[in-house]
Subunit: 338 residues, 2 copies
């Protein structure tokens, strides 16, 4: 009889470390570039009730002998009923026999791979002398983004946090943010860093070398005037049609990297500037190119670089496979007859 390993959120959180997530994301980008990984068509559906939406990202990662999918549902009104607003579930299979390998709660996994993707972009695109990081948005993803950044950029000294919902909300969210950050950074070696919550986004942006935006905004938050030369920006929030966190002028004056050009043009930060003809599809570069060619990510100390992340199935598959292997070795999870 067929069996499947079920891995819950706690088990995954205890298995997956930042360096492993970062390595998995890098190898997923390389697989995409050298075509040992394939993305299947992306599915997105808004429910007619207006209550929620569902995305299905699927693909085949030949290098890890795995294929499968991740289904994410977002129901913002759940918060009123003390339910999570997001549920993410992954299913992975062995590409030699089609046997199911694992069912995973993909919430923590998604935060880890998103943080890791942002960090990989910093490793290749941010200035080496970057000292200050600004994270815009203080949702559940924020500590993962900050932790991965602090992990790959041990030279960072200051972490600014900004919450578009105001200072009060930022202070409310801070303890949970710090708890997760500490857990994720337990093995980090690097400078001591200082955390401070900001009230003025313009000032904080002007004072930062790296800016990460992670909000569900549909109105640009960051303005061109607030970005100093040489800044690296990770635009993480835009992952569906109509979302936008950066003023289009920032994108038109930057070198823009994406996970996948087609998907970014459909649902990423670049969707709107492309639609208005402010930038060209062919100007986009994929992270995989950067990793595989070893070409320098930035051409000068003054260049502004943007990483527009929408998240691709290969990242999820790469991390899920890693977690599965770790779980088997550590005898974690519940093996159940199917």
């Amino acid at each position: 009889m067929t069996s499947i390993l079920v891995l819950n959120r706690n088990e995954i959180d205890s298995l997956l470390t930042l360096p492993e997530a970062i390595e998995s994301v890098e190898s997923a980008y390389i697989a995409k570039e050298n075509q040992t990984g394939t993305l299947f068509p992306f599915i997105s559906h808004e429910f007619p009730s207006g209550l929620g939406e569902v995305d299905i990202k699927s693909g085949h990662l030949r290098i890890n002998r795995v294929y499968g999918l991740k289904l994410i549902s977002r129901f913002p009104a759940n918060r009123d009923y003390s339910l999570p607003a997001t549920f993410a579930t992954s299913l992975i299979f062995d590409d030699r026999t089609g046997e199911p390998l694992a069912l995973l709660n993909a919430s923590g996994l998604t935060y880890m791979r998103t943080g890791a993707a942002a960090a990989v972009s910093m490793k290749y695109l941010a200035r080496e002398d970057s000292k200050t990081l600004l994270v815009v948005g203080m949702g559940e993803l924020a500590p993962y983004l900050a932790a991965a950044a602090l992990f790959v950029m041990p030279q960072l000294e200051t972490l600014y946090l900004y919450n578009p919902h105001g200072l009060e909300k930022a202070k409310q969210k801070e303890p949970e943010f710090l708890t997760t950050l500490e857990r994720l950074l337990s093995s980090r070696k690097g400078k001591q860093f200082h955390i401070s919550i900001c009230e003025d986004l313009a000032k904080a942006s002007l004072a930062s070398d790296i800016i990460v935006t992670a909000t569900p905004s549909k109105i640009p938050l960051l303005q061109m005037d607030w970005i100093k030369p040489g800044t690296h920006i990770c635009a993480i929030g835009s992952d569906m049609k109509g979302k936008q966190e950066l003023d289009s002028f920032i994108l038109t004056r930057s070198t823009v990297y994406v996970d996948d050009k087609k998907q970014a043009a459909e649902i990423g930060e670049v969707e709107i500037p492309l639609m208005y003809g402010l930038m060209r599809f062919d100007d986009l570069k994929e992270m995989g190119e950067l990793l595989i060619t070893g070409s320098p990510g930035r051409n000068s100390e003054e260049e502004i670089t943007v990483f527009d992340a929408t998240g691709i199935a290969l990242q999820d598959l790469s991390i899920a496979r890693r977690i599965y292997d770790l779980a088997i070795r550590a005898k974690k999870g519940t093996m159940i007859k199917l």
Copy 2:
């Protein structure tokens, strides 16, 4: 913490009965027709190794407050290693909150819904005085097709079985076929029926009122000359590009019903005649139209009718939701923290 109910093949086999499967399939067709059900884009991928393929069918069945997907993998060479050649797995979610409901082994479920779909087509399209049923193909699906047919057509007296691999293979497969048939028909009321294995497909076809084809053939098996007037044919096997069980002339001279016109044109029995311009897309009719309008399925006793089934996500969702409800009531399955 989120939980999910895991239902394995044995649990599902013990919960789901033919009448429930038939009712679920009918309600799925009606939902498609009155737009309380939505199909998401169909995903199909052949692995570059040439060893297998994977399909993902997903959708939203509003009437049952459920959405989700079924992933089917086919690896024919698995048989050489005593592994199943097909693995099917379903995930369903609550459309009010996005919470995962169940992970199901979808193998038995797929056989049941496919048998049920064929039976629904017979109920509406076969002649009422049909006495003889021929099933072509003796794979795992065959007893489900025969059982569902015998269930909705209690007037059937003779069941012919034909195996394209020859008489010997047919005899080898017979005991397993009979065991499953008996299990499925335990609650059937109707005439005693007689089963016989045939060696000559032409003769068997000419002697049958209803013909069901369920083979992976890529070369037409049934010829026009072998079909007597008034026959109803269920073409079940063609569910991917290039498969074909019926000579194109049969289709061009019949009234053809499908689950979903777009999907049938892509991967169904009608794919090839449409491609060669032998029939028109607009000539296809959907099962849902028939069920919702209550219009007579056949216009005369002489008309040949064909049901070209490719299987749609709404059938799987409808049945999976039914199984989930039955399992909760019967306290079956394993509830597991996610």
